[in-house]
């Protein structure tokens, strides 16, 4: 058990010059003892590299790693007391399931009786008890992956368990079960778990804290609801949620924004004039009457029935800046012909195709992003866990 602190940068090239040469840009990151973390991001964003650096399979090209007060930068995985589960099942073909599970214990010289007891506990947790004496080579892919998971969890004194997309090969039904199992194990054993995935559902259901990564950096780290409500970066808004956040380029002056948003968004007079982007989640985008203040004229282009809700696509009419179309918005906001998506709950009134509607972009949940795609103003703090 340990608190893991990273202060690193990593490049697979010998002399990195620009940002693109780095697999991981310089970063500081702390994983608290006993937390359930997820590293979420698209392929190639550096999440597996980060995991391998924590476990010691990869040595960072710069910086250091600390487990509590102990520096482990130069230590091999064997000396770090860490477990890792890989994307594809790794089993030792010639051993039985029980021998496979006991392998990490045997290598550390733990006595036979304790090892056997521990294996029995883990096998029970993962529903492998019936197969303990079978040869591991003959099992199906998801059984093998369960063995890999078991080998990761079998050591009681392990500092942290790292998962590298461990459920990729598992079929959906079992995936759900195993995810719950891991969550249960986390609650029971209070191990530090770090889980790498590119599947947002997996990350959001598994972790207390999700680190969203993109091109070698952590763009935001927070609870699932924080990521949903206040994406700190356009990438997070786009990546989290299904579909992701709507973005509309907005050209306006800081004062106009403050005026439009009224009390809803904290006015920031220091906002530089220039490209500004408004972001709103499909869940919070609202249909309204065209004459309502702030309404943006749009035309309904798609309606999809998703079962539990409707997904509506609305095309915003191009509006030139300063042109008095609609009410209010046209005075300060120039909007391109963007397609916005909104979710309507089952009970709500669903518009017709090609119907002209108004869209209310401004709500307590509206976020604003600056030219570097970073959050400038958004729902003010107090985001409760819901």
């Amino acid at each position: 058990m340990a608190r893991i602190h990273l202060d690193i940068a990593h490049s697979y090239r010998p002399h990195p010059r620009e940002d693109a040469d780095y697999a991981l840009l310089p970063m500081r990151q702390t994983f608290e003892d006993g937390g359930a973390y997820a590293l979420l991001g698209p392929s190639g964003c550096g999440k597996t590299t980060m995991l391998n650096i924590i476990s010691g399979l990869v040595r960072p090209s710069q910086g250091s790693i600390w487990f509590d007060e102990r520096e482990v930068t130069g230590l091999a995985p064997q000396q770090r007391n860490i477990a890792q589960v890989f994307q594809f099942p790794v089993v030792y073909d010639t051993m039985t399931v029980a021998q496979n599970l006991a392998f990490p214990l045997r290598n550390r010289g733990i006595d036979e009786a304790r090892a056997r007891a521990r294996v029995a506990v883990i096998a029970e947790m993962l529903d492998l008890s019936g197969q303990l004496d079978q040869r591991a080579a003959g099992l199906s892919a998801d059984q093998k992956q369960k063995i890999s998971l078991g080998r990761g969890l079998v050591r009681e004194d392990v500092g942290a368990v790292l998962f590298d997309e461990p459920l990729t090969v598992i079929d959906p039904h079992l995936k759900w079960q195993l995810r719950r199992k891991l969550k249960e194990i986390h609650r029971e054993l209070r191990l530090t778990l770090i889980y790498v995935t590119h599947d947002q559902v997996e990350a959001l259901t598994f972790a207390d804290t999700v680190l969203v990564m993109e091109r070698g950096r952590v763009v935001q780290s927070g609870s699932p609801s924080e990521l949903f409500e206040r994406p700190a970066h356009r990438f997070v808004g786009h990546f989290i949620g299904s579909p992701g956040m709507n973005f509309i380029p907005v050209t306006l002056l800081a004062r106009a924004l403050a005026h439009q948003a009224g009390a809803l968004t904290p006015a920031k007079p220091e906002v530089p004039p220039g490209a500004l982007t408004l972001g709103i989640r499909p869940e919070y985008l609202r249909l309204c009457e065209l004459h309502e203040p702030g309404a943006l004229p749009a035309q309904i282009e798609q309606i999809q029935d998703l079962g539990s809700c409707w997904l509506v696509g609305a095309r915003v009419q191009p509006v030139a800046a300063g042109n008095a179309v609609g009410n209010g918005v046209g005075n300060g906001v120039g909007v391109g012909a963007a397609l916005l998506r909104l979710r309507l709950a089952r009970g709500e009134v669903v518009p017709q195709l090609n119907q002209s509607v108004g869209l209310q972009l401004l709500s307590p949940h509206t976020c604003f992003y600056d030219s570097r795609d970073e959050l400038m103003a958004g729902p003010s703090g107090g985001v409760g866990d819901d």
Partner: protein
């Protein structure tokens, strides 16, 4: 939908049947034909039934050659397979060193059999050969032409020198095919170098080792050229292996009948051994698993 029975597709197999007939079946049948006849002259031949087979199986000389052959093939496997694995483990994994090593290791495989024999014939001479002269200088009375043990060891060393690289290359390819995750998992699990070899590398090499063992067994069982060039089967008959014996019979003494009978026996022995070895190696490391498990392991 029930398809009508149509046997016309058999015609498509005809070219293959013709090829195989001319290249394998007819020559083999000729041998069978010889093995049951006593050919006195091209015009006069007598049907003798299984007489030659009985005679050949009772031949003391043949028993000797057979024993020497098995001893030799066994020695070849015992030396070359572990040596090849060690060599493969020691070869560099990437960079220019890997390419350079591959070329160096593969070099001996490019040399024709009779040239190998000639090289070793000179190499082993005590007057001008490096090996012979060095052994002589060390006080060993080394002579592959006079001492049967020396002759046998030299033929073995020659084969090891010539063919261990094949085993090494096969194992090298097998080792490269093991996914990195296995090594990573082993490091995480705290496995020692020996445990990595025992539980990851060796089981994963099973397939290529099977091929290596079969190839080396068959090849060494049919060895002819090298001892022929080096020792001519001597001294005495210390290095007269089965094919040497066969050639002496068929070409030297022109005993076509016994030679043909023996060829068939020889053929059956190789077939039988390969079959047994193959089945045994298939089972090693997967005993106790079902047929489904066997497929899962692939």
């Amino acid at each position: 939908m029930i398809k009508p029975v149509n046997q016309k597709a058999w015609w498509l197999v005809l070219p293959v049947i013709l090829c195989v007939a001319f290249s394998a079946i007819l020559p083999l049948m000729t041998v069978v034909n010889y093995s049951v006849q006593d050919i006195i002259s091209p015009e006069r031949r007598v049907f003798v039934g299984t007489e030659w087979f009985v005679a050949v199986l009772r031949d003391e000389e043949l028993h000797g050659a057979m024993l020497r052959q098995f001893g030799y093939s066994l020695a070849v496997l015992v030396v070359e397979v572990p040596l090849g694995i060690l060599l493969a483990l020691a070869m560099p994994v990437d960079g220019w060193r890997a390419s350079a090593t591959l070329v160096l290791v593969a070099l001996s495989l490019l040399i024709p059999w009779n040239v190998v024999g000639t090289i070793w014939q000179i190499f082993g001479r005590s007057d001008i050969g490096l090996l012979g002269a060095v052994l002589e200088a060390l006080g060993t009375e080394y002579s592959y032409t006079g001492n049967p043990t020396h002759a046998w060891l030299t033929v073995l060393a020659m084969d090891v020198w010539h063919w261990t690289p094949l085993v090494a290359l096969l194992c090298y390819a097998g080792l490269r095919a093991i996914p990195e995750a296995f090594y990573q998992a082993a490091r995480i699990d705290g496995a020692s170098r020996l445990a990595v070899f025992r539980y990851i590398q060796l089981p994963k090499l099973r397939g290529v080792l099977m091929i290596a063992v079969l190839l080396r067994f068959m090849d060494s069982f049919m060895i002819y050229t090298e001892p022929f060039v080096l020792t001519g089967g001597g001294p005495g008959n210390a290095t007269t292996f089965l094919s040497q014996y066969l050639t002496q019979k068929a070409v030297g003494q022109f005993d076509l009948g016994p030679a043909a009978a023996f060829s068939l026996i020889y053929f059956l022995i190789i077939l039988l051994f390969c079959f047994v070895l193959y089945n045994w190696m298939q089972r090693v490391g997967t005993s106790g698993t079902s047929a489904a498990g066997e497929q899962g392991a692939r």
